[in-house]
Symmetry: C2
Subunit: 187 residues, 2 copies
DNA sequence: GTCTATAAGATGATAGAC
DNA sequence: GTCTATCATCTTATAGAC
């Protein structure tokens, strides 16, 4: 991939995580990257194209990191803890939301192209989490009160919500307390 | 309060819940209310004024409904279930987010006036929930694995996140499954 | 209180030179 | 591939008539 194209995606990702899809403009990117905003249209003809590319790249990178963690770590509890740390990472970097949590909140005002990519992120994450919860239950490491799919949805919702509370309250610490409590159910 | 002023707040609230603060304009309100957008400035000089008024009114109404429910219902488990139904309500009405969940996600691009009101909503909600969890624990109805403040934060985060997942996935049902699982911890 | 008119700037996007 | 120039449109907001 083009160096500049990758850079545009990277900057746009940060802007969406901070300001939302409706909160950033090509001009904001220009100011950071040092390219004229007309030039961005050469790489991404429409804002929807850029948004979709950002969401797709975010999802791929996220799933790659999960796959890589899965190779190094066999304990499901630790894997679930690692999963939470990926969300915390966004918060630590300039108070960002999860990209796809942000997009999901805005979904009613999103181009279909973008909405579809955000949806796919959620689906793949829920699938991955469900598998870990299923393994966790099979190991007898902890009893789940719900099926793995529901536990996956509850866990992910807790983390997305924890980001919202942390941002709204301006209190990073509350993310940790929520994440720890959510994870604690599976100890 | 002015009839028209109340109507402007009501319409703006719906628009923010659906599209976000950055996703709606005075023009959108004009189109719905049937008033010229210049006239809106008479009632709310700036968009920040309107946003803050919307958030304040939303919070007041929300807390009133909680207070009123508290009078009719003494069982804390049922109260917590009622609390979740207030969030579900938004989803059922045209796929809306919680107003202050939406604002919290956008907080980095919000005027201070608006951010402060959103924060206050979260604080008052967490206070209210903490009190119910404290009562619940005292009654011996269920043991909490965390302190009431943390349980409150976890429960609220689960519901805010459940709205995000439901919107992003286009699946209202997942909200119910998450809410029920979250509540189930306190059975 | 609501209107028309208008300002001043931002926005996504295109045309055409280099 | 990036630039300048330009477009049509939207945005928040103000001035002044009614």
């Amino acid at each position: 991939m083009d160096d500049i194209k990758a850079q545009l995606i990277d900057v746009a990702q940060t802007l969406i995580q901070k300001l939302g899809y409706n909160g950033f403009s090509y001009r904001d990117i220009s100011a950071i990257v040092g390219i004229r905003n007309a030039s961005i249209h050469y790489h991404f003809p429409t804002k929807a194209d850029l948004g979709a590319a950002v969401a797709a790249s975010y999802r791929e990178r996220f799933m790659e990191r999960l796959a890589s963690a899965k190779e190094d770590e066999t304990d499901t509890y630790n894997l679930l803890s690692f999963y939470a740390s990926l969300f915390k990472e966004a918060l630590d970097q300039d108070n960002r939301m999860c990209l796809c949590g942000m997009l999901s909140a805005e979904v009613s005002s999103l181009p279909d192209l973008v909405a579809v990519e955000a949806k796919r992120f959620l689906e793949e994450n829920l699938d991955w989490l469900s598998r870990q919860f299923a393994i966790h239950a099979n190991n007898g490491d902890g009893r789940l009160s719900e099926g793995p799919e529901t536990e996956a949805a509850l866990y992910m919702a807790s983390l997305q919500g924890a980001l919202i509370l942390a941002k709204g309250l301006g209190d990073t610490g509350i993310f940790d307390r929520i994440a720890e409590a959510a994870l604690g159910r599976y100890r």
